[in-house]
Amino acid sequence: MAIDPGTYTLGPDDGTLTVRTGRTGAASKAGHDLVIEVTSWRATLELPDGAGEAALALTADSRSLRVREGSGGMTALGDDDKANIEQTIEDEVLGAGAIVFRSRRVEPAPGGALRIEGELDLLGTSRPVAFELGAGADGRIAGRARLRQTNWRIKPYSALFGTLKVADEVEVAVDARLPAPTPHAERRSPRRDHRG
């Protein structure tokens, strides 16, 4: 189902932005696959009616990642363990700062989805990302992209003398209820806003 034209502004109240990590290494059994939710983010999807370019912009706070699930491992993750992971992400992986995605091209894809290509800026390194954003009849949108941390010069976290590592590739997914669009007359231009 195609998304109606309009400007949509989304955030945590509308859905979830999650990061799924896996593990590798000889001692990978000791670690956990994680589902981490980004709890502070804002996205603007601009779909003009007629002429004009569609665009998507998203910003997220790297300090807002919260561990929601951990599967595998030798014992279940407790609240303290989750807090430790969040601190480690901030101290040793992402640091504190903005995560920014800006689309370069948004095109219709089969089934009413959107094919989105753009640049993701992480820790000052910008790399291309492409993914599909699908829309369901229930008014929800969903999309996922697989990213290699090392493409953004991030060294995947490792422990146990390098025998337990977070896999380089992580999956980032958005799943949200599409809010009502902003009326056309009040629309701002995301391309101008985000390219400043």
Partner: protein, 142 residues
């Protein structure tokens, strides 16, 4: 039982390194996550080691004792007996040192039981190898 052999360099005369390596207050902190809890005699200590596994960690607490020493040959054997804190596992090891001018060798015979052992002997061996290799690097600063 996992058996491992490592060599290390100190860049110092054997006499200096020998004295340092038998000083448990200096030796035990060379193990990543290791600390002396209490010296119980000149050649024994209560100690613990915290092994970080990502977000989680396992702590083993027990004793480290010099059970044999030959000052002339500069050979010693340490016995480590530890139990997993809050768990059922054990980590016991016999660690034999030989110190010579500029470096030395370590032979480790370890027996790990409990959760850590459930990862499999190959994994335990790989992790122990990493732990001891890291230990030998830190010995250079002792």
């Amino acid at each position: 039982m996992v058996e491992l052999d490592h060599s290390f360099t100190t860049g110092r005369p054997a006499e200096d390194a020998w004295a340092a390596m038998l000083d448990l207050d200096r030796l035990i902190p060379c193990v990543q996550g290791g600390k002396v809890v209490e010296r119980t005699s000149p050649e024994a200590a209560k100690a613990e080691i915290r092994v970080k596994m990502g977000a989680m960690s396992m702590t083993f607490a027990g004793t480290v004792e010099v059970v044999e020493r030959d000052d002339a040959a500069r050979r010693a054997r340490l016995r480590v007996k530890a139990r997993e804190v809050g768990g059922q596992g054990h980590a016991n090891a016999d660690v034999a040192f030989h110190v010579s001018d500029g470096g030395g060798t370590i032979h480790t015979a370890a027996q790990i039981t409990g959760k850590a052992a459930s990862m499999g002997e190959g994994v335990v061996q790989t992790v122990l190898d990493g732990l001891i290799t890291d230990f030998t690097r830190r010995l250079q600063a002792v």
